[in-house]
Amino acid sequence: MKNKELAHWAVTRGREQGARQSEAYVLNHKSFSVRIRRGEVESIEQAQEQGLGIRALVGEQMGFAYTSFLEKGPVEEAISRAIANAGKTSADRNNILPGPPSGLPELKLYDPTIVETPVEEKIRLAAAIEEAAFAADPRVIKTERATYGDTVYEVAIANSRGLDVNYKGSFCGGSVWVVAKENDDTQTGSGMDYVLNFADLKPESIGQEATEEAVAMLGAKRVSSQRVPIVMPPRVATQFLGVLAPALSGEAVQKGRSLLAGKLGKVVASDIVTLIDDGTLSQGLNSSPVDGEGVPTDRTVLIEGGRLQTYLHNTYTAAKDGIISTGNASRPSYRGTPEIGPSNLYLESGGSSQGELLQDISQGFYLLEVLGMHTANPISGDFSVGAAGLWIEKGELTYPVRGVAVAGNILKLFRGVEALGNDLRFYLGYGSPSIRFSPLTVSGE
């Protein structure tokens, strides 16, 4: 049975087994990846995976179960489990399923070239990334690995309210980790890019980016503890955006674990900050016609001119607030229920060049790498991360610095945005231009 038919069948069986409402989510994907080291293939992986998740509503109670066996027997069993599980959860009148969408955004998510390209060419592409890294600077002495990978996937969602959608997509990407050495000093750098179209993958720029990062850090010094202005390129700024993202979730707000709770319509960031989530973004890695429960995706302005406009919602949290879902039910796998997450979340560009961002800074820190970003506390917003980068003196980038920590609070950080670059760039689902921030504590000697 095809995914679409199976989803439909599971929904019907859910009703027949006694669920008031039911929903089936079927995902299957095929993946390929290759790793190169010193021009030789270190590994090749090929995969095929599938699964179905079922939500069952009994009264106002919601239960969930999943299975990787896409056959009628095991799916029937999953349905029974979901119904039994529902009986153990608390009743909640906001447990509802979305109705059929009235119109879907037109998106080009599938690139047939990814499937048609022969394996040999994909291997050559990974090798080209590694070559580009070596070619960019003679101080690059080795790579840990250079990779190419791609995935083709199909999603089918159906529910008992008549929702019945399915779509297909693909993406591909490459990465490299390099080591540069000079005298007795060893430093590392990495480059990575993921895109929807095979033709947009540029091995040279991935290799060069890794090398630039590693080489820039050679001969790094330590500095003493001080408070200085901070400048971040898009790659680092997007990681901080990742710490802010959970606070934008309507669920986190409703449950008192968001630092943005109660701040709707209020100033939460510097007045030059505009933050957008756009699931319909052309070439967006996380773009899709519908979210994880079949609601059409949208472009949502979250912060405009520093003022908080809305939170991200799925059907449940929207019902609780008496509003419409923003189409942000996230569901990375068939193994879980739809939660809330951003799609393509980005800060709008400003007009400053890099030179303009750095000018007037007498002493400052240009962050190239952070360590332990995942230890930031998304609930309190407190972060303290290991950092490496270039020291700024009199508006110029000077010597590299490592072995220090940078600490602060994510909300205060975004209130302190002083200038935005004109270089918006996406890393996976997050996008940002370069940003200049007001001073933060740098802990060192």
């Binding site: 590994s43 590392t188 449950k255």
Partner: protein, 462 residues
């Protein structure tokens, strides 16, 4: 799971293209979870998944395919794809007759999750929730989650090994959010093991809930942590994130062989203070990182990594052991059938020493006492590491003074190990999911109370 005859046939197909070794990893995983938040039982989820991964080694290169279509034709096709990817001409390697192996370490599971009624699991979660909420009125949110997993694996390889293993893991995690004015702070406790429902003996959910709740409330009144270099005492109950990051990852043989570890070429050399002995032990009774066989079918091992400050062994999987001509150490692990095995830690700890823990604090003139650690990260090539501190106090004149919050500690692996000055006689474990190359595996880490001469404390205070 497949019969010996079927496995033999699949392995033969996998080797057709010219591999010199092949293995098949079959996995079936049943999981259940219960989540309470907002005073509601929000989620009761259960799942069943299964899949097969086929690996072919040819010299130092690996071909790996996986599928969760378990039908014999689909698995044979996957073996064929792996065989083609590894192709460099049939080397005539034949499959040795499969011979089932018995485990050297077995673990007692007293209450298998499938024998425990779901109501009892829900009840444990509710008890945790109630206890935490009763601790203080400033507690605004409590999230309690319970999870159990029963993973059955079968590994067969062309060298003739055939093993079956069943791992039952249970975990209980509680997050508490406290708020006062504009300040939000959190508390966290996690307990888990290669164990059944007996993990949650009477009073255990309540004990964990109270600890997490008290931590969140305590941190509301904490001052910002200081910034700068200072002596650090790490209490045993803080767990072993530091040892995991500062040296564990750097002793995994894949990084060492690629000369990407700061510990490359350091075998039999002094890499830590003489008081430091570090062990990785997958055989420890019912710990979160324990198992009978690793994910390549190698029996779990107890490996002394650093003895009295001298590096004695790295941690190997099959591929790296082949390359070094080293015996297998039982560290070949993977997240699931969807990943190939790589060298990973199991339960990693600094062995206890002779100093009384109280004595260590008493000897510290000025410094930071770390009572609870969070996650961490390391750059194994430079040795630079960070780890998060979720509960800490200042030490002045040998006494514990005020609580401080919001700090990450930064150091360099070999330097930090060299600067461990005192090692306590106690030992405390913490559990975690360790991430490497996108794969998460359950681990535990431990250490006694230790004094490190200096680390950089990354707070915002003076």
């Amino acid at each position: 799971m497949y019969t010996e005859g079927e496995l033999q046939e699949i392995l033969a197909i996998a080797l057709q293209g010219g591999g010199d070794y092949a293995d098949i990893f079959t996995e079936e995983k049943v999981s259940n979870s219960v989540v309470c938040e907002d005073d509601l039982i929000e989620r009761v989820n259960s799942g069943l998944e299964a899949g097969v991964g086929i690996r072919v080694l040819s010299g130092s290169s690996t071909a790996y395919t996986y599928t969760n279509d378990l039908s014999l034709p689909a698995v044979k096709k996957a073996a064929h794809v792996a065989s083609k990817a590894a192709a460099d001409g049939d080397k005539g390697v034949t499959v040795i007759d499969l011979c089932p192996r018995k485990p050297g370490t077995e673990f007692k599971i007293l209450r298998r999750p499938e024998d425990v009624p779901i109501d009892e699991k829900v009840e444990a979660v509710i008890r945790g929730n109630k206890t935490a909420r009763a601790v203080d009125e400033r507690i605004v949110q409590v999230i309690v989650s319970y999870g159990d997993v029963r993973q059955r694996i079968q590994v067969a390889n062309s060298s003739g090994a055939l093993i079956r293993d069943e791992r039952i893991r249970t975990r209980f995690v509680i997050h508490v959010v406290a708020q006062e004015g504009g300040v939000i702070q959190t508390g966290y406790e996690a307990l888990g093991g290669l164990t059944g429902f007996e993990l949650l003996t009477a009073g255990e959910p309540e004990r964990l809930a109270e600890m997490a709740a008290k931590q969140a409330v305590l941190m509301l009144g904490a001052k910002p942590a200081p910034s700068g270099r200072m002596p650090v005492v790490m209490a045993a109950e803080a767990g072993g994130t530091m040892v995991h990051e500062a040296c564990g990852h750097g002793l995994e043989a894949d990084l060492v062989q690629k000369e990407l570890s700061v510990y490359t070429d350091k075998l039999n050399k002094r890499v830590a203070a003489e008081v430091v002995t570090i062990i990785d032990d997958g055989t420890l009774a019912n710990k979160y990182g324990s198992f009978s066989f690793d994910d390549e079918g190698t029996p779990a091992g107890r490996n002394v990594l650093i003895k009295d400050g001298v590096l004695t062994s790295y941690m190997y999987d099959r591929l790296t052991a082949r390359q070094d001509g080293h015996p297998l150490t039982g560290n070949g692990r993977r997240q699931s059938y969807a990943y190939r095995p790589i060298p990973r830690m199991t339960n990693t700890y600094i062995a206890p020493g002779n100093t009384e823990p109280e004595e260590i604090i008493a000897q510290t003139e000025k410094g930071l006492l770390v009572k609870k650690m969070g996650g961490g990260q390391v750059n194994p090539t430079t040795g630079d590491f960070v780890f998060d501190v979720s509960e800490a106090y200042l030490i002045a004149h040998g006494k514990i003074t005020i609580p401080v919050r919001g700090a990450t500690l930064t150091g360099n692996g070999p330097k930090a190990l060299e600067e461990i000055e005192l090692v306590g006689s106690d030992l405390g474990f913490a559990i975690g999911t360790c991430g490497k190359e996108g794969q998460g595996v359950p681990v535990s880490d431990a250490q006694p109370t230790i004094l490190i001469k200096q680390l950089i404390v990354g707070g915002t205070g003076p």
